[in-house]
Symmetry: C2
Subunit: 203 residues, 2 copies
């Protein structure tokens, strides 16, 4: 077994409620089984737009949306995560995703993603605001101003766009989505354990 067999891609979106749960718990869960997480921020917006949706399906289907908020609340209790229903949903996640692309280059995407998710789903902060994102970056010991500037370059914008196109090409339709080194896909926070087990077996 090579090291690559023990890797698991986590495709996540900062506006996604169930991505909050997975982002907060996956590193510990994967580490316990010797599996490394590859962080893959992307945008659901373009993927939803391609099937004709202009917002989250939880807004388009009201009954499903009502259920989701209740289910999320229960899951947060079960996983001992703080939760406050965001006043905006889904939040505009482009800036956070661009920064996450850079954070993934340098090994601090896990901590950054947890910080942004906490701001969105526990503190109801505006994650589209550069001040919010800059503060999280600074809190991790990095230069907020420099990172925000790099996030807004054409190169970083293109990288996020390409990553989202790659998500669509892989057949990703929601978040979180986990993909093993041998291409097996698992969708949703409810499949984290199965995905880790698959990555570990390295089939």
């Amino acid at each position: 077994m090579t090291a690559a067999d023990r890797q698991l891609e986590l495709w996540f979106e900062f506006g996604s409620t169930y991505s909050y749960l997975t982002v907060c718990r996956i590193e510990d869960a994967a580490a316990a089984h010797g599996v490394d997480i590859l962080w893959r921020p992307f945008l659901l917006g373009p993927i939803f737009k391609a099937i004709g949706w202009d917002t989250s399906p939880f807004n388009l289907q009201q009954a499903k949306g009502r259920y989701m908020w209740r289910d999320l609340e229960r899951q947060c209790v079960a996983e001992d995560l703080p939760f406050r229903r965001p006043s905006r949903f889904p939040q505009h996640s482009v800036l956070a995703a661009r920064v996450a692309i850079l954070a993934a280059d340098h090994g601090w995407c896990a901590a950054f993603a947890r910080g942004v998710m906490h701001a969105n789903f526990a503190e109801d902060e505006d994650i589209a605001d550069p001040v919010t994102i800059g503060t999280i970056v600074e809190g991790l010991g990095h230069d907020g101003k420099a990172v925000l500037a790099q996030a807004q370059t054409t190169e970083t914008k293109d990288r996020l766009r390409h990553q989202t196109e790659r998500a669509a090409a892989l057949g990703i339709f929601g978040a979180p989505t986990l993909i093993t080194a041998d291409g097996e896909m698992f969708w949703g926070n409810d499949r984290v354990e199965q995905a880790i087990a698959w990555a570990r077996r390295s089939q």
Copy 2:
């Protein structure tokens, strides 16, 4: 605690892939915790139609559909259930649901539902065919001809229509859906254990 506190409604649809998993395992899972299942067959078609869909979302969203079939296959392996992808999806489930309404009156809905689900998702039989349904009914020791005749009366048709309207009024948007005596809703085969635990605690 009264007996009613330990009851859990299972709202299911014979064409629904994840209902197959739940129908096959819920009785044993619930009995182990002293919880009784109330069988609530209904139709997803009218509920989907109300939000503008003329078929299953797994047909409308192709990427999600592709994933679902792979996930279902994996779940069947994990739960040791036979699986053959049905040549028709979703199957026309009205007749089976009408018979299930009657079966629930007389305490044999669990066994009947497992039989129909097996015909659909393991044997790829046509569950809209009265011969298929009649054979399952006979196999449970009941009069197939008489049950099919009663299933097609105006009274039974009305009962299924009302049950489906009640599902919509309860906020049900998919299947399987589990509802506790105190009105807590759990959606999907992945929530069976949580729903049983909730029913057991009787909050």
